[in-house]
Symmetry: C2
Subunit: 217 residues, 2 copies
Amino acid sequence: MAQKDKSDVTKEHLLNEAEGLFAQKGYNAVSVREITKAANCNLAAVNYHFGNKQNLYLEVFRARWVPRARLLQEHFRKSLAAQGSPSPTAVAKALAEAFLVGPLSDKERHRHHQLMVRELGQPTEAFELVADQVMRPFFKGLADMLRPVMPEGLGEERLMLNILSIFAMVLYFNFARVAVTRITGYEYDTAFKARLVEHIVEFSLKGLGGAEKEELR
Amino acid sequence: MAQKDKSDVTKEHLLNEAEGLFAQKGYNAVSVREITKAANCNLAAVNYHFGNKQNLYLEVFRARWVPRARLLQEHFRKSLAAQGSPSPTAVAKALAEAFLVGPLSDKERHRHHQLMVRELGQPTEAFELVADQVMRPFFKGLADMLRPVMPEGLGEERLMLNILSIFAMVLYFNFARVAVTRITGYEYDTAFKARLVEHIVEFSLKGLGGAEKEELR
DNA sequence: GTTTGTATCAAACGATCGTTTTAATGTCAA
DNA sequence: TTGACATTAAAACGATCGTTTGATACAAAC
């Protein structure tokens, strides 16, 4: 039992440190030695507990990324339910709030979106996991939610492009924060992040064309 | 003279192949051997002509990326000038057209945005180049252009966030095309790309708060 | 107390990395 | 034709990579 506990602790540390390093530097730029050193364990631990480096990477998604994504989606659903009927305004607000403030710490959120963007730009086996278990169901749910409240005659394709565009902004402002700061001079402090959420909600809402729609109701 | 020509040919090949591979796989996942093999030259050529691998990477940005970015900006300026006064509509149209259709081939555009996203997520020395010589001046120009025609009382920060949001979409739909196809099922054929431009123009325009919707269709 | 099985450890494996060295090749000026 | 120079070529450098091995520590089972 005590042995089992120790083993679990090592695995947890490995997953944590691996996720951070993979997110920060990318798969190829991180060595197994670097991970095991950060996790305070022996070099062979990765191969002992996970088989090989690539499987550790996949396990990071299985054991860390996907559960966190589910947490985000749960937070979104509750936030949306609290606002009553799912108008475009409510959806945009709940989305931005969940993904830019939400239940995650700053570090967690940064990690999460860095890993996502890496898989978006260069899909590996982990992308299948993310697409099947997280993205497709979530986007489908969003589409079902928005379809009845969007302008008439808006096709399925256009609906999906609207949803993807909101995510483009959310992803961008999360993963490119260093660059955004270097370009604009704005630091990602609490005040700026608040204005950022405000902006994304407003921009998304207008983009969805939901402002007039809501006024009509 | 004939020697000089041969040397130039080798350098050009190296820059071309290096850019393609760096864009596709990222700096660390590409080996010097892989590059020189693709460029049909000797392994030592990289160190002879560029000093080392990192300097080849930087030279890719100096000799390829930045000039292409200037080409895009020039295309944007001409496209905008052809539409008369720089209304939000005209700016959104010219931006989407330049960056999603524009003067570049599909492969070039893909490369261009892949390299950009890599630097955005994990800035290296090349980012300074890109930020100083391309991004900051271009964003400043856009801001100067849009400021007089945007709604009253819109602060500088909000103006910049609007511009960044448009670029977020442009970047996203360019670099995440594999993922977008895998998620939505839509192939990036000519018809889809046309609808994509249409969508981004419309979404951006609404997001900017541009009123002139009738100009769109 | 001995055996069994799990987890960790140091050490080494072969492969590949970026880079350097040294020799060969080709070209132009003198 | 010869010497100087620029480019290419093959081979090797030391370092680091992911992975494997065999020994060791230690708690639980008998």
